[in-house]
């Protein structure tokens, strides 16, 4: 293993530790007296420090040390956590994250904030602490075996009682109990007592019999699993009973009750955080503050769920191959259908089973890429903090449904738009604390981030309890910027959507946060690039809600197979509101070539897909074809005219951009059952395309277009 990959592992672990740190800090905020949480935070910082020391990252070590020392004072009740200290902790956490990142990228961290925070941290330390030369034990980071668990630096010793009674077969297989005991002794302090009670009279002694058993007491920091590993090869050849008897060797436990609690602790041990807590402390905390119990219960046990780190490339290759499998399955189905076998043929049954299996595999593979939104949401807490500091507003972040799983790519590409929206929510959404008090709201505003799965989509909502959108102001601004005519009559919804227009920014003064050249239009584009959409709803005085709706996966999609001109294409079902076989009565011509259809009293413009794509329209008969009613962001409802709808099916999305470039009106391609490629239409873009401008659009867009700044 090269030094570099060990380094990588360290930084990967740092990420997890930082995550735990952020989590712990917000838990501390909820409940300052909870020593377990304080310990968890302390441990996270300490582990980072330890690892950083091993790599000679001195600045990181120095900062973590200061952080940790203050944390330690809280731990030992020398320091009360107040709001100011809590804020400092948060900032320290952020700074620590920055330092880790800087160390990873080998750049110079911003020393100014670092020294400010360091000074503030030191202010909390007494004279004696300041001089205290820090020394830490170079941790043995067990990268190779278990990259997920950094060993706690000061692991709690636990006492295990082992009863070991080998059978004759154990000896027969050449195992030697002494070697096992030696192995155990390496884990901690071992006491061995041989149980000779079953030793027979000398005359009755059969050398082939196993009569000895041992009683062992082991004080170790390792968890039970390690003990079992020692006995891995002999467990089936002996009676082995391992129990945890207590935390502190001096404590004589009450067997029943203590045992069960100790078990819980054991199961939590590999997360490296909770295990470190001495049992006694936990007991006192629980006794003294019964109110904390439900909070602890709510903490999902982050037990040793075994995980596997896999190179993302490998997963993607697998996903690709499975995509091929699905296509291949569709092709085989089609070929077999063409054979027109009798309906009850075994082949069709088998084929059906094959289809289900292929789907199962696909879903399974997709699930590998799915990740909880939790880390993403956690990052937002920092954004809220920074934004509220910069604007002088008070805000707190509440997250819901952090365990909602979303495709990894979505999470990655959502980070920027979400950051922007959360920042906006604080900057533009919330009122100042004074104003809030005035109108009877709590001085601190709440930003609520929630994620959920609903009907095959992922919903992410950013809700603030601020003033709501100032529609009058938005309207004026849009007029001022020349985006709409002064006499335009717009519904509230329309006005809200003006926010998404390029070149729109409501903040009249460029504050610290806004004016970064990123508008809501970028947010919308980023979300649209992921196949999703954003909508706003706002209630004056009560707040604003932004809703992002995203597809569950980026790799497959439900679509209608349609024909346009002589080509087969696919249109996403999610975008279609309804399909209409037009009745000549409902069709009306407006102007020379404008056509509309009356849909329940409203007139919806008809867009000829073939014409807009620059393909020859197969029929000039306005009554022909099928109309697909779609809702577009830019122009409201539109009816897309296509020649026919053939089928509804799940299609595998293939990027066009990887080998060519973006094509207006087309979002991607897919491969149909016959092996031919069908283009997947982007209804929004199709509507926007003007039929009269065919060749001007020819230059493929640069591939980076969708990845906004």
């Amino acid at each position: 293993m090269s030094r570099n990959s060990i380094r990588d592992t360290f930084f990967e672990e740092c990420e997890e530790l930082l995550e735990a740190l952020v989590e712990g800090l917000s838990a501390m905020e909820e409940n300052t007296g909870d020593m377990e949480v304080v310990n968890a935070v302390f441990r996270a910082v300490h582990s980072i420090k330890g690892g950083a020391g091993a790599f000679g990252l001195d600045r990181l070590v120095a900062f973590a040390h200061a952080f940790e020392t203050v944390m330690d004072k809280v731990r030992s009740h020398d320091l009360e956590v107040d709001e100011a200290l809590m804020r400092l902790f948060h900032r320290s956490g952020d700074q620590l994250a920055d330092l880790v990142e800087a160390a990873r990228d080998e750049r110079e961290p911003d020393s100014e904030t670092e020294s400010t925070i360091l000074k503030e941290l030191e202010a909390y330390l007494g004279e004696s602490d300041k001089q205290d030369d820090f020394s830490f034990d170079a941790l043995s980071l067990d990268f190779e075996a278990a990259p997920m668990s950094i060993e706690p630096a000061e692991p709690a010793l636990r006492r295990f009682e082992l009863r070991f009674r080998p059978t004759a077969a154990l000896y027969a297989n050449g195992h030697e109990p002494l070697l096992l005991f030696d192995a155990l002794a390496e884990l901690g302090t071992l006491e061995v007592t041989a149980d000779l009670s079953e030793l027979p009279e000398f005359d009755a002694f059969d050398p082939n019999d196993a009569v000895l058993s041992w009683q062992l007491t082991l004080d170790t920091a390792e968890d039970e699993m390690v003990l079992h590993e020692v006995f891995e090869f002999v467990e089936s050849l002996c009676d082995l009973d391992i129990r945890v008897s207590g935390q502190s060797p001096e404590q004589q436990p009450e067997p029943e009750v203590e045992d069960s609690t100790a078990e819980t602790v054991t199961s939590l041990a590999p997360s490296g955080i909770e295990a470190a807590l001495p049992q006694t402390t936990q007991d006192t905390v629980e006794d003294a503050r019964p109110a904390t119990a439900p909070v602890q219960g709510a903490n999902e046990p982050r037990g040793p769920r075994p995980t596997l780190r896999v190179d993302l490339d490998r997963v993607d290759r697998l996903i690709n191959t499975v995509g091929e499998l699905i296509i291949n399955q569709a092709m085989i189905s089609q070929r077999i259908e063409e054979l027109e076998l009798p309906a009850v043929s075994h082949l069709t049954n088998e084929l059906e089973a094959y289809k289900l299996l292929a789907r199962d595999i696909q879903e399974g593979v997709m699930a590998i890429r799915a990740q909880p939104v939790k880390p993403l949401f956690q990052r937002m807490s920092r954004i809220v903090r920074e934004a509220s500091e910069a604007t002088g507003k008070k805000a707190k972040l509440v997250t819901e449904g952090d365990s909602t799983e979303v495709d990894k790519t979505v999470i990655e590409r959502l980070a920027d738009p979400l950051t922007h929206m959360v920042r906006n929510a604080v900057d533009h959404g919330l009122e100042s604390p004074d104003r809030r008090t005035e109108i009877g709201k709590e001085p601190a505003g709440t930003i609520r981030l929630s994620a959920s799965h609903r009907s095959g989509s992922v919903f992410i909502e950013i809700i603030d309890d601020g003033a709501g959108l100032d529609r009058k102001r938005i309207f004026e601004k849009a007029v001022e910027k020349g985006l709409i005519a002064p006499d335009a009559e717009l519904s509230d919804q329309d006005i809200d959507n003006l926010l998404f227009l390029p070149g729109f920014s409501t903040a009249s003064a460029v504050s610290n946060l806004s004016g970064r050249g990123v508008g809501m239009d970028v947010v919308r584009n980023a979300v649209a690039a992921l196949g999703g959409r954003v909508s706003i709803s706002s209630l004056p005085g009560a707040g604003t809600t932004f809703t992002i709706v995203l597809p569950l996966t980026l790799a497959v999609m439900d679509g209608f197979v349609i024909s346009v001109s002589d080509q087969t294409m696919v249109i996403p079902i999610s975008s279609i509101i309804e399909t209409i076989r037009p009745n000549r009565r409902d069709l009306h011509q407006i102007g020379t070539d404008g056509r509309v259809i009356a849909v329940r009293g409203a007139y919806v413009p008809i867009v000829d897909v073939a014409g807009n794509l620059g393909l020859a329209s197969s029929s000039n008969d306005i009554g022909g074809g099928v109309l697909l009613l779609v809702g577009t962001e830019a122009q409201g409802l539109a009816a897309l005219r296509v020649d026919a709808i053939h089928d509804q099916r799940q299609v595998v999305i293939k990027s066009l951009e990887s080998n060519y470039g973006a094509i207006p009106g087309v979002s991607a391609a897919t491969i149909l059952g016959d092996g031919k490629i069908a283009l997947i239409l982007d209804p929004d873009e199709v509507v926007k395309l003007h039929p009269a401008a065919p060749v001007l659009f020819t230059t493929p867009q640069p591939r980076t277009e969708l990845r906004h700044a």
Binding site: Q567, I663, K676, V695, T698
Partner: protein
């Protein structure tokens, strides 16, 4: 690739020669993934004439360019002998429709001459050099230029 500083001067290069628009071209063999028979492609809307469409290459969607049209030598006419050369350029895989593939050419590096100082900047971009084979001149295609210059005809 044809990097002047790479390897000894006597390094052998292998090229596959083909004809497009009645001219001889060649591509270095390492850039070529495979040669396929022409199969109908899916047309792309709003693309120049030299982009014929996209083809399914074992699950990957690759664009097919008409090399002759790309070099401004007119559209390749339908012919039984037309083939698609699948070539890779970095991470991008593309297909080039050519009239026919002729042979494998094995030459020393010294046999590759610089592109004569012709007027057209675009042509010099698209052609890395020339190799003379008998009476013929074989042009070494610069795949990057074919890809980069997406404004249609290069020459």
């Amino acid at each position: 690739m044809l990097d002047a500083n790479e390897g000894p001067t006597e390094a052998q290069f292998e090229f596959i020669t083909f004809s497009a628009g009645n001219q001889s071209f060649c591509l270095e063999i390492t850039q070529i993934r495979e040669i396929r028979r022409w199969t109908p492609v899916t047309r792309l809307p709003h693309t120049p004439d030299d982009v014929l469409g996209v083809m399914n290459l074992r699950g990957a969607v690759i664009p097919i360019f008409d090399l002759s049209a790309r070099f401004g030598l007119g559209q390749t006419s339908d012919n039984e002998r037309n083939v698609v050369i699948v070539a890779a350029c970095g991470d991008t895989t593309i297909g080039l429709l050519v009239e026919s593939v002729s042979e494998i050419l094995s030459v020393n590096k010294s046999a590759i001459q610089e592109t004569p100082d012709i007027k057209s900047e675009a042509a010099r971009q698209a052609i890395l050099g020339v190799i003379s084979v008998g009476d013929n001149v074989v042009r070494v295609v610069n795949l990057d230029a074919v890809l980069d210059n997406d404004r249609g005809a290069v020459v």
